[in-house]
């Protein structure tokens, strides 16, 4: 029954991808490696056999085009193109969360540096300025006052990339020195953890320390709703404990999970592989 071939679309082999390769082997799945830096995409499918593709590329733009091509070739993908397009963009994610009635921090988006100052004033200081795409807590700025806002906007404007001229302004949530990450696979929150940091950015990639959290209760319920709001699949949902209760601030469509695996002991890679194999057979 295990004659499936899993296409692993990837950039680099981190511990996550290594665990995925091991989990595939343990399940008797053949793996076809599809390197995002080497693969080419003709309009008509040729040259690859995968029955389903698991996207592990770390590049949002490469992911988007590749997933669209795989779908065009009739090959299902985890996650789906639509999910990655939504969840990979903070602007679109915030809209989807709000539309689904999920508590989320206030956000105002501006499309020019001039409007960005207005957006910051509308949100009020301190505020958080984020690039719509990209993560690991990079290029985020906490803006404490107007003077700082003017300096940061000037710097962003000097960066040539179009991504830097879209301004995503989020309210600064007064939270404890931690946030929550819930890992959703299909209809289940498979693991969750707290990320502690004295830095206001609690990314594990920035050295936050972790401890396991219960995947149930209000947190689990919100995480599942948030995952569904962006189309579902394999998603990491980030939540903060605001004074008014839990809020969802991000949904990651190609999440890392080494810190989570370490903190909880859950075989996240195995859960992903079971889900992917199931999806391929549907």
């Amino acid at each position: 029954m295990n004659s499936l071939t899993l296409g692993l679309f990837y950039t680099v082999i981190r511990p996550e991808e290594k665990w995925i390769l091991q989990a595939a082997e343990a399940r008797g799945l053949a793996v076809e490696r599809l390197h995002d830096g080497e693969m080419t995409f003709p309009l008509v499918k040729n040259g690859f056999k995968a029955d389903i593709v698991l996207n592990r590329s770390v590049s949002h733009s490469r992911s988007l085009y590749a997933l669209r091509f795989f779908e065009h070739y009739g090959v299902p993908t985890v996650n789906a193109y639509d999910t990655v397009a939504l969840a990979g963009d903070k602007v679109l994610t915030s809209m989807a969360l709000q539309a689904a009635g999920i508590p989320t921090p206030r956000v105002v988006v501006a499309l020019t540096p001039e409007a960005a100052l207005k957006a910051l004033e509308e949100i009020g200081y301190p505020a958080v300025l984020k690039p719509p795409v990209g993560s690991w807590g990079r290029l985020l700025a906490k803006v404490d006052d107007r003077e700082e806002a003017e300096q940061i906007i000037e710097h962003k404007d000097a960066l040539a990339s179009p991504q830097h001229s879209i301004f995503y302004v989020q309210e600064y949530v007064q939270k404890p020195e931690r946030d929550l990450r819930a890992f959703v696979v299909g209809d289940e929150v498979v693991a969750a953890m707290y990320r502690h940091s004295e830095d206001w950015r609690t990314n594990a990639a920035r050295g936050a320390t972790t401890e396991p959290a219960s995947p149930n209760g209000r947190m689990g319920e919100l995480a599942l709703k948030a995952a569904k709001a962006v189309g579902g699949g394999v998603l990491a949902v980030d939540l903060m404990e605001s004074p008014d209760g839990l809020v969802v601030h991000e949904v990651n469509p190609t999440p890392e999970f080494r810190a989570l695996t370490g903190a909880t002991g859950v075989d996240v890679a195995g859960k992903i592989l079971d889900y992917v194999a199931e999806a391929a057979r549907r």
Binding site: Y10, I13, V133, S135, N203
Partner: protein, 53 residues
């Protein structure tokens, strides 16, 4: 065994797969396994703007 492209330190192959990211134990540079047999490593790809978890 091969040399780190950055510091020429000695790199052991251990239990690695092609494409794997690892850190040079001598200089801390992030490296990528580019070939297993013969064992070769190059500097890991540089982080790009749209990369992220």
């Amino acid at each position: 065994m091969t040399e780190c492209p950055e510091c020429a330190g000695t790199l052991q192959r251990k239990d690695m797969v092609e494409g794997e990211i690892f850190t040079c134990p001598e200089c801390g540079t992030e490296l990528e396994v580019t070939s297993l047999d013969p064992f070769e490593a190059a500097k890991a790809p540089k982080e790009e703007e749209d990369w992220g978890e």
